[in-house]
Symmetry: C2
Subunit: 219 residues, 2 copies
DNA sequence: AAAATTATTTAGATTTGTCTAAAAATATTT
DNA sequence: AAATATTTTTAGACAAATCTAAATAATTTT
């Protein structure tokens, strides 16, 4: 089954959107892919005829098992290439996404498996997301939102929720990076802010908005 | 200047074809790209309007200096990726071409330069072809056709003229690979065959057809 | 429950890169 | 140099992926 770049992008977007909602709407997809709802409808019909989607007009869409398998292959490639860029080519973890969006469409299965081996079969990419293996098996995400962390748990920052310049500016100011270790001290009901201790440094306050954008894994 | 994959393939094909002939005909291009002459004419008009070609209807085409610059970027990427596949991922030199045809269209300039550095700034790819540097400067090809080698010159096989299974079968039988060292003993006018000595082994006869398909560099 | 709003689909147009068939230009043969 | 053959271009059509505008279905508000 050979897919075009465009078809692959739809499959991938549906995969990620359905993680959250189970089923994906036309408008959601249009916003995600930066296209118009009418274009989405056309593509949904095409991919359905290829048996990659379960789609009822007006009712939203989800991946068939065949579609899910293809999605996992794309995710695998994306995350392996990101690992390559960071680990081998010294890219920053915050500048690999766009390049990986291109590399993920290279089709050679042999290339992907050799790359995986070359990297030492990593199980997580530089953002902390799990990498599916060559059979499409992916372990559960180990990371959790900072907002959901219980007080007095030690954790390590492993991913951010967006790449917006505003967020990156704030993180730079507070000197929080991927790998920064911290411990939640207490949470405040009033504004959902939290006080955390940065390892080796003092205590700081994190707003609800910022905490929501930070993902950590417990250590 | 952003080009589509298709446009890049035309630029690259013209670059390679004009190495030999100086100017390239519509039919030559059509055969090379596996498309029809009518399609070629359309694309020539488009690329000419982008100032990448010097094209006179019915008179053939060649690259403008801007077109040549882009061609060298594509060749650079192709040959660096081939080097990566062979040196780092343990691909055989005879199985990298198709994958590199895909990888050469990845656009990130930063990626290419980092890859170059990661590979140790190689000057030749696994087939012995020179790799342009990041300014588009490429050293002259060091390799020469085995037919053109003077008797009693030592040389090393560094490239083959085609990937046909028939050729590969013959090379396997004669145990000639990339890197095999040899010395031409004598040449026969009658059938243009030559007798060569394989380093560490005995003398063998090479037909005109086979010699024509082998490229070597003197050592 | 009817009206208003929002979401989705349909219909028809556009762009890119390709094609076939026919016409025009160039090259070759006699 | 005329006739023939080859090469190249033009003209018109098609599939893929997108768009806008209009129509229809679903949801929300009053």
């Amino acid at each position: 089954m050979h897919l075009t770049v465009s078809e692959e992008n739809y499959i991938k977007a549906i995969f990620h959107l359905q993680e959250a909602d189970g089923t994906v709407s036309t408008n959601q997809l249009a916003a995600n892919i930066h296209t118009k709802p009418a274009s989405v409808t056309d593509m949904l019909k095409k991919l359905t005829s290829k048996r990659l989607l379960l789609y009822k007009p007006y009712q939203g869409v989800r991946l068939s098992s065949e579609g899910r398998k293809l999605a996992l292959e794309i995710v695998r490639k994306h995350r392996l290439w990101e690992s390559f860029l960071v680990d081998k080519l010294q890219f920053g973890w915050d500048e690999v996404h766009e390049v990986a969006e291109e590399l993920e469409h290279i089709s050679s299965k042999k290339l992907v498996d050799k790359l995986d081996q070359f990297l030492g079969n990593p199980r997580f990419d530089p953002h902390g997301d799990p990498i599916p293996d060559s059979n499409g098996v992916m372990v559960a995400l180990r990371q959790v939102n900072l907002l959901d962390l219980k007080p007095h748990t030690k954790a390590e920052v492993c991913s951010v929720g967006s790449q917006s310049p505003e967020l990156l500016e704030l993180l730079k100011h507070k000197q929080i990076l991927i790998g920064t270790r911290l411990e939640v001290q207490c949470k405040f009901e009033f504004d959902h802010s939290l006080e955390i201790q940065l390892e080796g440094r003092g205590n700081i306050t994190i707003s609800q908005q910022l905490a929501q954008a930070l993902f950590v894994k417990t250590i």
